[in-house]
């Protein structure tokens, strides 16, 4: 595909425009809305309604089986004054986000960079590293993780070789969260693929030009790769953080819905699920959902606002 154009194009453009006349659907304003039409329909029908309904429910007492009953801000008051489980779930979730997201992104980026170098066996390695992410929410994961991290599990057997007597990581309230952090990092395949795609979009000749100029691998990394990768890094950071806040399935299948030994795995959305479907308190669960949404929205807004200082788009 060719691109080379120069300044004589401008008068040519005006000439063309005059002869053809602008079409209404070619104007960017209308075009924007037309392109957004599928999203708009989806948003109005499938998202907006449920979102507003859940906001309404957060001010009610709703047990799923009978009609909701308006109770004003009672749910929110209870959440912040009388609910210890809420504080526990916030703490658990924040610790999880704080550790799992950077670790996951770091592994994903490093491995993506290594795989991008075009070494032998690349497709195989790429597939192998992505394999864990394919397992998703399988019930088998809980069984596998117990095999690994129980008292006499494989990890402890491995550590015993070095004379280390490990605790039962997965069932000890002090360590159980870490087994989930490791699970999250183990499934780094998705952000890795995104990084790979981002790396692939950096043209090879840019690196070649830099190499001819005498730039070594570290300089290339710092001056070319990182800046050009910042949109993708930003995306992965925001998405992984939002996902980490919303983590439900790993906690659910590993603790079998209970929230782990002494609520050490009581993730925020697990607590929400318990309230909604376990104890028939959908109103309270909706309030929990909205508090979570606000937390995530604040973080995301902050991320977007500060992104202008470090994210380079080609504009």
């Amino acid at each position: 595909m060719e691109i080379a154009r120069n300044s004589d194009a401008i008068p040519l453009h005006r000439e063309r425009a005059r002869s053809k006349g602008p079409r209404w659907y070619s104007s960017p304003q209308a075009a924007g809305y037309i392109f957004l039409l599928p999203w708009g329909i989806g948003f109005l029908c499938l998202s907006l309604g449920p979102i507003l309904w859940s906001l309404y429910l957060s001010f009610t007492d709703f047990d799923l089986l009978t009609a909701p009953e308006w109770i004003g801000t009672a749910n929110y008051v209870r959440m912040f004054t009388a609910d210890t489980k809420f504080m526990t779930s916030v703490k658990v979730t924040f610790v999880y986000v704080l550790f799992s997201v950077p670790l996951k992104l770091a592994f994903a980026l490093v491995v993506a960079m290594v795989l991008n170098r075009g070494i032998r066996g690349l497709p195989l390695y790429r597939a192998l590293f992505y394999l864990p992410s394919l397992l998703g929410a399988s019930v088998a994961i809980a069984i596998l993780w117990r095999q690994l991290f129980a008292g006499n599990g494989l990890v402890n057997q491995f550590l015993a070789q070095f004379g280390i007597q490990g605790p039962s990581w997965i069932s000890n309230p002090n360590y159980s969260l870490w087994t989930l952090i490791i699970l999250a990092v183990w499934q780094f395949g998705s952000p890795m693929i995104v990084f790979l795609a981002g790396l692939r979009q950096i043209p090879a000749d840019v690196y070649e030009a830099a190499q001819i100029d005498g730039a070594g691998p570290w300089r290339q990394f710092a001056r070319i790769t990182v800046p050009l990768l910042t949109p993708v890094i930003f995306f992965n950071a925001v998405i992984q953080t939002i996902d980490a806040f919303k983590t439900f399935t790993p906690a659910f299948i590993i603790s079998n819905g209970s929230g782990g030994p002494v609520n050490s795995l009581l993730f925020y959305t697990l607590y929400l699920y318990q309230e909604a479907f376990g104890y028939f308190r959908m109103g309270y669960a909706s309030a929990l959902a909205w508090v979570l949404l606000i937390i995530i929205a604040l973080f995301t807004a902050f991320a977007f606002l500060t992104s202008r200082y470090w994210v380079h788009y080609d504009e």
Binding site: L65, S168, S171, P173, S258, V262, F277, Y279, M282
Partner: protein, 429 residues
């Protein structure tokens, strides 16, 4: 309201829907009456229930669509369907939830069907009582069971112990632990799992003392001193190495494959008697049933026969009479009983039991004999638990017992905490 909107919209979209529906190969909808039945269970139950429903359809011409799910998914889906106005006709109910659903009028009182579509002649009276909430019958028991310890007989044999036929006491557990140690058993297997957070063990212990878990008006049937003693009892068992360690016990998240007995960490596992077959399928060692521990040799009334699960009819059902027919078929028809076996528990109808006895496998017979042989250990069935009972179990009892086990809380304080939290949850309603 929704139905009205639904009908109009449905006609509009039906064309597209039909096109795609045919694309995805959905089976044709049966005409006339069709019953939707939903239940939890695995493949084994699905197979049997499917066969039994087919028998019913053949005999009555009423089609039955089975929907089955794993336990953990069942309640989410059922609640969603009810909230969405799409409840099935017949729902399988659990002892713990039936009061919840009954009090919210989501399921139907069945009294009007008794004697007509619903044949209850020869049905165990206590099983009928078990399905009553507020004096009305809301669910028909599909099988009775009682609590039992699953016993790993191979381990006990190796330790040279024969368990007494009438049950063993808490005190005897210490003796067994001593013999276990002497026999140098592999994996350091303990006598019993840590049941301090196990609601049914607590209930059995309280009943033997003349107390109860909950009273008929939905209050706690015990006090702080009882609770303290309970946690201290288990604290001592834990210190003496009689029961499983805190870390090991926390591995048991409620699924059978992670239970202490299957993992080889305990030789006694408290659970329900009808699960013997399921446990045996996972283990190579031979298993048997034994009653819950007694507080003394002549203690009585600790256990009771309870309905393992019910079938209830949804209030929104449009085929209530046919649904009642299906219920009746499942519980009293000898052919159905042969197909269903004791997978859901011991059948509650006398004539069904006699028809079934010859077809039982040894494990099934063991279950039957266990329940009927409990003698004086058996007591009356308690009133149906208050709606907060589930939360008190999962949120308070399990949590507090784990705190004690991990040394985060003293047993004495735990007793107070438990009563306090339980009372609070009960008053929340």
């Amino acid at each position: 309201m929704i139905n009205l909107l639904g009908r109009r919209r449905f006609l509009e979209v039906a064309g597209i829907a039909a096109l795609v529906a045919s694309f995805d190969g959905a089976t044709a909808r049966a005409a006339a009456t069709r019953l939707r039945l939903i239940y939890w269970g695995g493949q084994a139950r699905a197979e049997k229930t499917g066969k039994a429903s087919q028998l019913f359809s053949d005999r009555t011409g009423i089609a039955v669509q089975n929907e089955f799910l794993a336990w953990s998914d069942y309640w989410t889906k059922l609640a969603t369907q009810i909230a969405g106005g799409n409840a099935p006709d017949i729902v399988q109910m659990d002892y713990r939830y039936i009061a919840e659903y009954a009090s919210r009028q989501v399921i139907l009182p069945l009294d009007e069907f008794i004697g007509q579509q619903l044949d209850l002649i020869g049905f165990d009276q206590d099983q009928i009582e078990g399905g009553k909430v507020g004096g009305k019958l809301y669910g028909i028991s599909l099988g009775a069971n009682s609590v039992a310890n699953i016993v790993n007989t191979a381990v006990f044999e190796k330790a040279g112990i024969t368990l007494p036929a009438n049950g063993f006491t808490y005190a005897q557990l210490y003796e067994y632990a001593e013999l276990f140690k002497q026999a140098k058993l592999p994996n350091g297997v303990r006598v019993i799992s840590d049941a301090s957070g196990h609601e049914q063990m607590l209930e059995s212990w309280l009943r033997q003392r003349g107390k109860a878990l909950y009273t008929a008006d939905g209050q706690l049937g015990f006090d702080v001193d009882d609770a303290k003693e309970w946690f201290i009892l288990w604290s001592k068992l834990r210190e003496a190495g009689v029961c499983v360690t805190a870390e090991d016990n926390a591995l048991a998240t409620g699924q059978m494959e992670s239970s202490m007995i299957v993992m080889g960490k305990a030789a006694l596992q408290p659970d329900n008697s009808n699960l013997l077959i399921a446990y045996q399928a996972l283990m190579q060692d031979r298993l048997a049933l034994a009653p819950y521990p007694l507080i003394s040799v002549d203690a009585t009334g600790g256990q009771y026969r309870k309905p393992s699960m019910f079938f209830s009819i949804a209030r929104s059902s449009r085929a209530k009479s046919e649904a009642a027919q299906l219920l009746s078929f499942f519980i009293s028809d000898p052919e159905a009983a042969k197909v269903l076996g004791t997978e859901r528990g011991i059948p509650c109808s006398e004539k069904v039991r006699t028809a079934l006895v010859t077809t039982l496998t040894p494990l099934e017979r063991a279950g039957l004999e266990y329940v009927s042989g409990l003698g004086k250990i058996l007591g009356p069935i308690p009133p149906s638990p208050p709606t907060a009972a589930g939360e008190i179990y999962q949120s308070a009892l399990t949590n507090i017992s784990q705190q004690v086990a991990f040394g985060m809380e003293k047993p004495e304080n735990a007793g107070e905490m438990f009563v306090q939290q339980a009372t609070e949850l009960l008053s929340r309603g």
